[in-house]
Amino acid sequence: MTGARQIVAGLESAGVTIAASVPDTWIGKLVEEVRRSSAIRVVDVAREEEAVAVACGASLAGGRGAVLIQNAGLLNCGGILAGLVELYRLPCFFLVSFRGDSRDPIYYHEPKGRVTEATLQAWRLRYAVADRGRDLAAQVRQGVEAAAEFASPYVLLISGEDLA
């Protein structure tokens, strides 16, 4: 089973109903897999802050939302994380492509990769870097459940290699 399929299985088993996304090369491949799910509706949004609000709206209305974006987009989200997600204590699971990490072959992503984990730590967000050597579906499910349990954001960083 591909990593993308495992991730979708994790989202499905965690009860995610709506996945809001701005794609990049990696997330785009994942989203195509999500579109095959009969349990999850993909909402294509124009900017990452919208994805956060859409996911939170789904959760407030009784479903479970997820945000699928690149780390550049995550860096856009500081305001809405503070002013909506944290302020109202809403669960919000993020699956974020970790561009610019040591495995990324594209040179121009490096600055984002350099600041991603430092930013997550500065924002005091719970997060993990996906481990392809373990069950990806379980890591996704645990992330969604952690967001729900703590009524807070949770970020799972993935590499393009994780999707293969």
């Binding site: 939170c56 789904a58 407030l60 002013g83």
Partner: protein, 185 residues
């Protein structure tokens, strides 16, 4: 052009328990706790630009409820991209009331960048077909029922007078209270 409170009174008088109201930060969010609103209310006190996508997520999750988003022109100027997102998602149960006064009322009444934005044209250009302009309470009473029954996303562009002396009540509910009370049956 009408003052804000009579417009808000008229809107609330047309709501039912099956509606869901999402308010952006600012005057509307501050008035609503003092009003007898029959529908669930989720009011923001921060996060400009979040009201419409938040309402969109609710509308898609609960197609059996009609969701009404109250947004200000200052917030939408910051994130007009959401109009295209709404047009693409095509929820059948989302109405957007855009309150246009040309001011950042929540932060002291500073003027927006003085550009002659045609909000109705912008919404249509983004792909939203049901768009109407509202200039007064009678106009709101005439257009809101059509928006609610449109079966597609609707935008009402509501001209509202800016009054720097308006006695807007302060925020009277904490986010935790708003979150705890917000429940959809």
């Amino acid at each position: 052009m009408s003052a804000r409170k009579p417009l808000l009174d008229a809107l609330v008088s047309m709501l039912t328990p099956r509606d869901v109201l999402v308010s952006c930060l600012g005057a509307n969010a501050r008035y609503l706790p003092h009003m007898k609103v029959p529908s669930p209310v989720f009011a923001l006190c921060d996060s400009m630009g979040a009201a419409i996508p938040l309402a969109l997520g609710m509308a898609l999750q609960r197609p059996d409820r009609h969701v009404i988003a109250l947004e200000g022109d200052g917030s939408l100027l910051m994130s007009p991209n959401v109009l295209a997102t709404v047009a693409a998602a095509r929820p059948v149960n989302l109405s957007i009331l855009l309150w246009v006064n040309g001011r950042y009322e929540s932060s002291g009444g500073q003027a927006l960048p003085p550009a002659p934005v045609d909000w109705a044209a912008l919404a249509r250009a983004a792909g939203i077909r049901h768009v109407e302009s509202v200039r007064d309470v009678a106009g709101l009473r005439a257009t809101f029922p059509n928006a609610r029954s449109a079966g597609e996303p609707a935008v009402l562009v509501v001209d509202v007078a800016f009054d720097p002396a308006e006695a807007i009540p302060p925020y009277s509910e904490r986010p935790g209270e708003i979150r705890a009370r917000f429940r959809l049956d």
